[in-house]
Symmetry: C2
Subunit: 386 residues, 2 copies
């Protein structure tokens, strides 16, 4: 079997994990072509663990080496678009780590360039799209099984991080280093899943807390109110200070409801008759019968599904799918161009809180970029004053 | 035992239920002193069911009859404050049905007048305050068992009402007849419980849907984002179009979390060490131990309580408590003056959606009244054009 030669840029936690998966044979259609890192410690590590694999301390050299067919960008968020463009420009396939970038202006450049290279594979590590649970939820919605969406509500506060996490490196949880907090680092998967499953909202209003429970410049808590423009609404809550974290995703539709608990259990209620029809036909006596008696069970069927998650399995699925797309044209689960949606959502949530008003999507990308740069400047001034 | 003689104003569903409870002896310290209704059908009904009880078709006559020590106002919302004032003015105790009124300007007049009559009992039918489940939740918060509140989140969409419910009477779900929809009619209990347990927010932003899934002028869906002014936030969602209604109330505190499911089950997690202290002391290795291993159980104790609700039991508890306050000074569970808080919250949620911006509490009561009257005028014009 022909194997895709992957260049791993960045041998940190994520890059190291991918190198491990590939070495252990968990991605049968992939091999490590080369590794790149600017940190001398990582060079030593690579020499010990992967002595036969070429190592570069310049990612352009890796791309141009001829050792790799594709790259994966396990580096700080800001660098993802630039590295993606530089790979595609040299006819090397690109798999981006999430998020696709920090601001849409940057991600749009990447997408525009990628569109000029349709013969190359451009993917993004939205490993949660490989999660069978969310695939099931998406198929139930796409098949119209619960009808048009009326309301979404996701509380995802299972991203607990102690202060020590933020203090590990100077770039962490800074505007200059990461371009945001929980929205950019921890929650991009849920932002992507939310839009993948329920579509993009038209308007966003947010209440974002910057350095609320942690000594950081960026956000550690987010409450966002979404308006889908067709009457449907949504709520998205995330935080890094809830050690008893909640993960509860509810979608109400015209013909049913889905509740996902802890990304493990899905409860699907399918109404036998669409709600609008029940509303039109029933009087209060019928209502009393349903709610006081045993009638409730008769109005919908309930399906409860439990899924077992193995950490890493979804990452290897995305790696396999990416390689298969290059090798035999298997459709991509997470096309790279999709990455802009989650970034657009995160940008809108930030911008609403900065402007203290509801914003329309897509937000003005130049305005966002200017406001982000203001935060970076403020942060530098604050550091100098410390 | 001495009994309080209650004058029931309005013999509709609610007034009829109270008459039934008292007649059946469920409120041992109360008897029906008189009944009032302007509907001749209700007069006939009273003559059949309560032939020995004086009947009035003018509530002032009932108050002045000498037949009653107190009244309860089972009449349209707008009339509650006026009736309360007229009773207290004549030295008759007053128990108001919820909501205390439709707009705070009106409720404030009532409260101001009631304050001049401290010797009289002035209560409100917040029967959910008699619910042991919510009493438990309040005591856990008040005792500081989960520390300061960081976040509240209540989805209460169990208020399903079909179109036929709204079509029963011309006044239903109109600005002139009720002054609002789900916020004024169905959700006042939760608005009161929310502020009773977690305090009043300082600012509110809302997305309110008027006539979204029903042919009504007022709101059938509400999403409100609360800001408590000290960093804490909240979300309140309610609707009348979800036949598979959700009732889930979550409170995150510095030292624990409470989750109430279906107003029946309470899960209380109490951290052994406050979250801020865990954040200060733990590194990511400790975190991995907790989340990957079996350590999670060690960081908190979990208590799960189930409560059985019997419809009506809480109403009789409030009636008993009200009578006991008059007869022997037992402290009131729901003082009438508390009623303004839920009205203030509902007004703020409406006003934010009308002005399309976040509003501070208390909202400008004259502005709210003026905006409400605009809605009433628009509604009249729309009716004429039909």
């Amino acid at each position: 079997m022909k194997k895709l030669r992957l260049g791993i840029i960045g041998l940190g936690a994520q890059g190291g994990a991918y190198a491990g998966f590939i070495t252990e044979g968990k991605v049968p259609n992939m091999e490590i072509g080369a590794i790149c890192d600017i940190d001398p410690e990582k060079k030593k590590l690579a020499a010990e663990k992967y002595p036969d694999i070429p190592f570069y301390d310049d990612y352009i050299a890796l791309i141009e080496s001829g050792d790799v067919d594709a790259i994966v960008t396990c580096v700080p968020h800001y660098l993802h678009p630039e590295m993606g463009i530089n790979a595609l420009k040299r006819d090397v396939h690109a798999l981006l780590e999430k998020p696709a970038g920090v601001y849409t202006k940057q991600v749009k450049e990447l997408n525009d360039f990628a569109a000029t290279k349709p013969e190359l594979t451009f993917g993004i590590m939205f490993n949660q799209r490989a999660n069978e649970l969310y695939q099931k939820v998406k198929s139930v919605i796409d098949n119209g099984e619960i009808g048009g969406i009326r309301r979404t509500n996701w509380i995802i506060t299972t991203w607990w991080r102690p202060q020590g996490y933020y203090d590990q490196s100077a770039w962490r949880a800074t505007w200059e280093g990461e371009g945001g907090g929980v929205l950019v680092n921890q929650a991009p998967h849920q932002l992507d899943l939310l839009q993948w499953i329920a579509g993009m909202p038209k308007k966003v209003y947010s209440n974002v807390k910057y350095g609320y429970q942690r000594d950081i410049a960026v956000e550690d808590e987010v409450t966002a109110l979404l308006d889908y423009g067709n009457g449907a609404t949504g709520v998205f809550v995330t935080a890094t200070h809830d050690i008893m974290g909640t993960d509860r995703f509810e979608i109400l539709g015209d013909k049913g409801k889905i509740v996902v608990d802890d990304s493990k259990k899905v409860t699907i209620k399918r109404l036998k008759v669409p709600e609008a029809e029940m509303s039109a036909k029933m009087d209060m006596q019928d209502v009393m019968k349903i709610f006081m008696g045993t009638g409730a069970a008769d109005i919908y069927d309930e399906e409860v599904l439990e899924f077992e998650n193995v950490w890493g399995a979804q990452h290897t699925d995305v790696l396999k799918n990416f390689a298969a797309n290059v090798l035999d044209g298997t459709p991509l689960l997470a096309p790279g161009s999709d990455g802009i949606q989650g970034v657009a959502l995160a940008n809108a949530i930030h911008l609403s809180s900065w402007l203290d008003k509801e914003v329309e999507l897509p937000v003005d990308e130049d305005l966002y970029f200017a406001e982000l740069n203001k935060k970076i400047e403020e942060e530098k001034t604050a550091l100098v004053q410390k």
